[in-house]
Symmetry: C2
Subunit: 149 residues, 2 copies
Amino acid sequence: MRLEDEIQQKEFKDDYNKAIVNILFTQSYIVTKQNNLFKPYGLSPEQYNVLRILRGQNGNPITVSSIQDRMLNKMSNASRLVEKLKQKGLVLREECPADRRQVDIMITEKGLQLLNQLQEEILNQNNNLIQLNQEEVSQLNFLLDKLRG
Amino acid sequence: MRLEDEIQQKEFKDDYNKAIVNILFTQSYIVTKQNNLFKPYGLSPEQYNVLRILRGQNGNPITVSSIQDRMLNKMSNASRLVEKLKQKGLVLREECPADRRQVDIMITEKGLQLLNQLQEEILNQNNNLIQLNQEEVSQLNFLLDKLRG
DNA sequence: TACATTTGCATGTATATACATTTAATACAA
DNA sequence: TTGTATTAAATGTATATACATGCAAATGTA
């Protein structure tokens, strides 16, 4: 559906301005759906993302600042998100012996099981969320990667 | 730059999953830049968006719920955003005589002046933000509109 | 008219983002 | 070695999102 109709705006100054608004609006569309999926599990999209980063470590610990670097939102607060996950027993946090300023974070078995449980649901939803064919998705990824320069 | 490199992820399950993450990441990229631009004026991107909706009314009042409908993030809270804008003298709020449940909102002269002041800066930034040529931006808008079904 | 339902907005709470500041540990230079 | 700068993480504050609830006005119906 055309963005102009969805937000009841007659027209945009130009395609560049429309693209900005289009990306913001589409992100909100996606996050809203993700929230619905995560909610029964007591996870926020951001917490889920941190768990995925930790799983990608294949058992190796990772510091809080490395998590921050890999997060989708560079301004979010890895320290506090990790604390929330720890309270739920989904991650472990322990002082790094080599550098006591750092804190090593690892996903727990419980955290891995939660991700597995979510996995299939998410893959299905992601495909439904994006009403594009294979060639179009590929083109979209190309354009977004190029957009950021 | 490839998303995989930016967030240090080896690969995605498929293009659909990459597209989800790509949109979230690109939104964060845009909002961060917008924040920098709005900050000197004491506006958040969301407050700016509400002001733009009000300007689009060309002097006619609009209710809080209509603002909500047109906002980029359907879950945000128009009531509280309007309150913030009112405190800054950028909007007027008055009870709707025809239906006393409703509240008519209008942008003030001060609000319009602020938008004018920002206008040029924003147009310039938007063009710099999107490193695509005209044909590519147009294609991106087509894909995002189609994506949402 | 009386009463239940719906609507429009405000408000309360939890979580997250944005950004500044603090604290402790480490690195580095005089 | 001592003092300074840098780094990693935690913490504080303001704003925004997500969602539930409350309240008053309007609507619908017996």
